[in-house]
């Protein structure tokens, strides 16, 4: 069977659990930005939890099915409509041949995962079906979806059945203001004391440059770096370094003006000093931030980062247990 894209939405692409192992060649992880929503969507339709789904951003696509299928939509809060009739989010439902699936604008959250039983069956490239836009490979023809695309769907498992859902308390909470926990480090020591304070005290607003590569934040106090003699090869601005690798979640501040947090389609390196890194447990929260949503950066140490990681894993395990039945 196949799914035809009638309208592509704002930025819609095929994504899965990602493509680790090639970052040293500049090929980033990619994969669904909100991995928790990926796992939930796949388990609801009986897929392996890392199967490929359709990830949409802010405005969802309109899709038409050429055969009966089982679908689940997770992530951002937007009305899900099947032939114009509202359908539940976070619950699997059947569609028939010819059915049209559409969405209203996302009220809260910024990304939805649309899973289909059997998974989106595009070719595996370097171990993943995820789209990597800058490299123009993976996913469907290495790009965002366009009207007229026909997405192949794999074979559903025996676990695929409609009406599957999870208790509401297991669902992630969406909000317009979030706290992002940050482990200071890398070039944090090059910030002036006044900027260390303002970075964590200010409320930062998501700017218009917010995509799968990274999120830029505005409306905070510009950051000041300590003066120094520029090291050979680093460049003259005190926010420059000799080009180096960028961690996922790392926060760079070009010219000290606006922090940029890199996400799963990250540029793998460059010449801007990073002042810290958002912990792994909070990366899904960034994926759900719309422009003009607000964040505060909360300083944590490694012990607390690891506790948060363990808590996230326990939450996912509860989801898995609830859906294993």
């Amino acid at each position: 069977m196949a799914i035809e894209v009638l309208k592509p939405g704002l930025a819609t692409s095929v994504q899965d659990a990602g493509r680790p192992g090639y970052y040293n060649l500049g090929i980033p992880l990619s994969g669904a930005l909100d991995q928790q929503s990926l796992v939930l969507a796949n388990l609801l339709v009986g897929n392996d939890e890392g199967a490929a789904v359709i990830e949409s951003t802010l405005l969802g696509p309109e899709l038409q099915f050429d055969a009966p299928a089982l679908v689940a939509v997770t992530g951002a809060d937007a009305k899900v409509k099947l032939n114009g009739n509202e359908m539940p989010r976070n619950e699997s439902f059947a569609v028939q041949a010819g059915d049209k699936l559409g969405f209203d604008f996302m009220k809260l959250g910024a990304r939805m995962c649309i899973a289909v039983a059997g998974g989106i069956d595009v070719p595996v490239v370097l171990g993943s079906r995820s789209t990597y836009g800058l490299g123009a490979f993976g996913g469907f023809n290495g790009r965002k979806l366009l009207a007229g695309d026909r997405l192949p769907v794999g074979t559903p498992s025996a676990r695929a059945k409609p009406g599957r859902s999870v208790p509401a308390e297991l669902l992630p909470v969406l909000a317009k203001e979030v706290e992002l926990r940050v482990l200071p480090g890398i070039y944090f020591h090059r910030l002036q004391e006044v900027s260390v304070r303002s970075f964590f005290a200010d409320t930062w607003t998501v700017g218009s440059e917010a995509d799968r590569i990274g999120y830029r934040y505005k409306n905070g106090t510009p950051l000041q770096f300590l003066d120094r003699k520029p090291p050979f090869g680093a460049g003259h601005d005190p926010s420059n370094i000799v080009d180096a690798g960028y961690p996922y979640g790392s926060i760079q501040v070009p010219g000290g003006r606006e922090p940029i947090i890199l996400h799963r389609d990250a540029v793998s390196g460059g010449g801007y000093a990073m002042v810290g890194t958002v912990i792994s447990a909070d990366m899904d929260l960034i994926a759900q931030m719309q422009p003009n949503h607000k964040a505060r950066f909360v300083e944590v140490d490694m012990a607390r980062a690891l506790e948060a990681r363990a808590e996230r894993r326990r939450r996912l395990d509860r989801l898995r247990a609830a859906l294993a039945a």
């Binding site: 680790p20 370097l126 050979f232 080009d243 690798g245 960028y246």
Partner: protein, 298 residues
């Protein structure tokens, strides 16, 4: 040759709970790159469970790990142990030397740089004229000679897929330095030879960029369709540690090479080579001459 003194000990800093960032030196140098490469190679050889990415980059390196499999402190201790074990030993590496044809002063980067002239330090000259002047070369030809005669190390692959950063294997005094554009361009032709700070690069894909543009190569270096022989193994050609010799070509040869690329018959001149940092530092020019003999099979 400038004596580059590295900090006695690298600086280790965690990037969240999944990355360890290691700065060998704040400044770029071949010894800093080599030390990072040597540690990365040893870490790769050990194949530690939980280590998922090992990324050498210029004067630093980045390791990504799964802290549920390897504790952050255990990884840190391993890297410190590897660093300590390097001691004063000569750093040697098995690598390859590659000849990359370049049409300097080509019409496509020229058209692009004219379009973005208001973003440049010197709107009245071209990128390569500006680079020649501020680096003390009497002419563009003399600059091209300096850029293309001594080989370069690929000191990092990244930013985007398959993009090599290269560092020239000459004394610091002879290294070419240019600032990036005042404000980045929104367009750079694919396969542009660029230069910013002390690094040259080849833009693997078309897109935004801030490096000065000197020319273009006909040789694809990144191709998801893997059409050419040297891209069959992997869609990305360059690896950190590769040695590159630029070969200036004229428009007629460029057009011939492009025809070969389109026919699928284009090949690169590539030779395996072993590199010794100690021998290089003792006599850079003499050592480079030996490397070029290996490239040409003499």
């Amino acid at each position: 040759m400038t004596v580059t003194t590295l900090p006695a000990r690298a600086r280790y800093s965690f990037g969240g709970d999944e990355h360890l960032f290691v700065e060998i030196s704040e400044e770029m140098s071949l010894p800093a790159f080599f030390k990072g490469m040597a540690i990365c190679n040893e870490l790769r050889r050990r194949a530690l469970p939980g280590v998922t990415e090992i990324c050498p980059a210029n004067a630093a390196y980045l390791v990504r790990f799964d802290p549920d499999v390897i504790a952050p402190d255990a990884l840190l201790a391993t890297l410190e142990e590897i660093e300590a074990g390097l001691g004063e030993a000569d750093l040697q590496m098995q690598t390859r030397i590659v000849e990359i044809p370049v049409l300097y002063n080509d019409p496509w980067t020229h058209e692009t740089l004219m379009r973005f002239r208001e973003r440049h330090q010197d709107p009245s000259s071209t990128d390569i004229e500006y680079a020649a002047r501020i680096n003390g070369h009497a002419s563009v030809d003399a600059f091209i000679e300096a850029h293309s005669s001594a080989p370069w190390f690929v000191s990092m692959v990244g930013f985007v897929a398959g993009l090599p950063f290269l560092f020239q294997m000459v004394e610091r005094e002879r290294q070419i330095e240019v600032p990036k554009y005042l404000s980045p361009r929104t367009d750079t032709p694919r396969l542009t030879l660029g230069h910013g700070g002390c690094f040259s690069c080849i833009y693997s894909v078309r897109g935004a960029g801030g490096y000065q543009m000197f020319g273009v190569t006909p040789a694809p270096i990144f191709d998801p369709a893997q059409r050419l022989s040297y891209l069959k193994e992997l869609m990305v050609f360059f690896r950190p540690g590769d040695i590159v010799k630029w070969k200036p070509i004229d428009r007629a040869e460029y057009d011939r090479r492009i025809a070969e690329v389109e026919a699928g018959t284009f090949a690169l001149r590539i030779a395996p080579v072993s590199f010794s940092l100690k021998e290089f530092l003792a006599d850079p020019d003499g050592y480079n001459q030996q490397l070029l003999k290996v490239l040409h099979g003499d």
